[in-house]
């Protein structure tokens, strides 16, 4: 069994059963736009949303997260010693995640799960999560997933892929986690797989054909780092940047963080918060020296990281899934597609 049919009339009922086992997350519209939220009892994910304003990365990697607790009260035996906090890593599922946002977890995983060190917070949350993807039928004009190693029907990192087919969803099973999820929902109706696969293939092609935006990345690996670093276009590229963190915070593949101690009276916690390479303080030394002290440095860092350093370090392509959020939300319209083109063609020029 590879594909299961979910009749939409059974949707609500299945979700109800699931909510007894999983914490469910899905796109919810609040005011003018959608975001992923934990679904309340009986609340349905809005699968008509184009994509959410913010990426679902915060479900696995919250913007603020407590790492340790401690007491500063010297009358306590364990004062000044950090203690692990008890976290809820019970099963959770993200329903309606787009293939691009799911693939992003694969890119981020390379950072948090390394041979030398494993980030326990990210990994435990990741392992507790079932990703139920929703194939993208109407990609946005600023989506460029197909040339960013992804696509509207891309299956990487997903446990299930839902395909909307009128009165029903087809659920393509990708992992065992996905199988367990379907079973818990009571969605088990089999289909004539041959016919379904044929239709899915056609729909996939149609969706991919709708992607009108592309990037070229073929030359990024071969060009010398310093060649690209010293390229003349960075002044022009970075001019309009206001050094806010929007691009990095809305990005599903940005992972940088800061660690802070917060005290309240004699107790406190060590927590981590998202941070951004766009902020000057990100790299400022205690002495005042800052290796990336101009916005040119910082803008260059962001693009070099995504499109060159990452490419070189892991050899799995660019650190971008083409979701287009940074393109749509940058307050001054700095467009990664344009910068990628500049970088890639600079490589051609210096061949």
């Amino acid at each position: 069994m590879k594909i299961v049919q979910i009749n939409k009339e059974n949707w609500t009922d299945g979700l109800k059963k699931l909510s007894e086992i999983y914490r469910l997350f899905g796109p919810v519209k609040e005011d003018d736009f959608h975001n992923f939220k934990e679904l309340e009892q009986g609340q349905l994910p809005d699968l008509n949303c184009l994509n959410t304003r913010l990426s679902p990365k915060s479900i696995i990697y919250p913007q603020s997260e407590v790492m340790f607790e401690y007491t500063l009260d010297e009358n306590q035996k364990d004062h000044h010693i950090l203690k692990e906090v008890k976290k809820d890593y019970s099963p959770q599922a993200v329903i309606g995640i787009r293939p691009c946002d799911a693939k992003a977890f694969a890119l981020v995983r390379l950072n948090f799960d390394t041979p030398e060190h494993q980030d326990p917070y990210w990994l435990k949350a990741y392992e507790a999560t079932t990703l139920v993807g929703l194939a993208c039928e109407s990609p946005c004009s600023s989506c460029f997933c197909t040339t960013a190693g992804c696509g509207p029907y891309h299956e990487e990192e997903l446990d299930l892929l839902l395909i909307d087919s009128g009165d029903q969803y087809w659920a393509k099973i990708i992992t065992d986690k996905g199988k367990v999820f379907l079973k818990a929902a009571g969605w088990t109706q089999t289909v004539d797989e041959k016919t379904a696969l044929k239709e899915i293939k056609a729909k996939k092609q149609a969706a991919e054909d709708k992607i009108c935006s592309t990037v070229n990345t073929d030359k990024l690996r071969e060009i010398e780092t310093n060649e690209l670093y010293n390229a003349p276009f960075w002044e022009e590229v970075s001019f309009s940047c206001i050094n806010c963190g929007t691009c990095t915070y809305v990005c599903p593949t940005c992972w940088c963080f800061d660690i802070q101690d917060e005290n309240l009276g004699s107790s406190g916690c060590r927590m981590r918060n998202w941070d951004s390479c766009m902020y000057p303080l990100f790299t400022a030394h205690g002495s005042g020296h800052n290796p990336r002290d101009t916005k040119l440095h910082r803008v260059r860092q962001r693009f070099m990281h995504k499109l060159k350093y990452y490419v070189d370090k892991y050899d799995t392509g660019i650190q971008c899934v083409g979701c287009g959020r940074c393109v749509r939300l940058c307050p001054v319209n700095i467009d990664i597609r344009r910068v990628c083109e500049l970088m890639n063609s600079h490589a051609v020029m210096t061949d």
Binding site: D32, Q63, I242, Q260, L281, L329, P331, D335
Partner: protein
Amino acid sequence: MLSYIDKIKEISIRLLKECRVEMVIGFRKGTVPMMNEPHFAKSPEDVENFVWDSNCGINLCNYFTNRGEKIGILAKGCDSRNIVTHIIENKIKRDQLVIIGVPCKGMIDKRKISAMFEGEIGEVIENENNITVKGDGFEKNLNKKDVLQQNCAICIHRNPVIHDELVGELVEEQIDVDRYEDVREIEALPPQEKATYFEKLLEPCIRCYACRNACPLCYCPTCFTDESRPQWVGKGQDPTDVSTFHFLRAYHCAGRCTDCGACERSCPVGINMRVFTKKLEKDCLELFEWEAGLDPDVRPPLDTYRPGDPDEFIK
């Protein structure tokens, strides 16, 4: 307003050719609908990329801060008042700038327009008074007046208050505008409801600081939010820290904000943080008869003392 572009290019080329400036700061066409990108021209050839339409809402004063060269800068009414504020605060010298004044009829509200349509907007075509919004399966004409940014709809200084060049005829100023309807509504709320209102307003904030960084007046080398010694504000998503950031930022703009709307326009999650700066603007007007950025030779209320300053709050 669309016709300004020829004049903008002509002036920019002239200024660059005559070496009166080393760069002109303007806009180039954006890559997504209803967006333009701040851009500079250092040679007459670069000027070719300049555009002007109703998507030039970013305040360009942000881009001359801490630059040393002589700069030509495009300035709408609100931007020109911002320049005046910078001059008053010794942040820039008047003679470092050649101000290219742009009489403005308002910028269109990207957020509002996007929210009017279910699907994605593919293209927005603009003429003098209308825009045509096109998308997958829809096309609609809208009167620009109905879809202006809120700060533009209630603007009473559309013409530059200070300029060396002008790109077109001055436009008629709006009169009888009620600038503070929304502020009064909030003022009337009892304290607890007010607190709840602000909490709800700021709930979506992701602390990306786009509002702060889009604001030309937020030029502090290290913002109080980023200070570590002492650390005034926590760095996490605690609602108290988030609102402390927004409240204090607004206070820092008291008597300085020219309501250019760049903060609101920049916010990726659609927070109307202008209610804070507008409240302070209203107070400055009512208590000190002060409107920011109108005259480089008048000191602002927060650095002058007059015997008649209101002091009823002191018991």
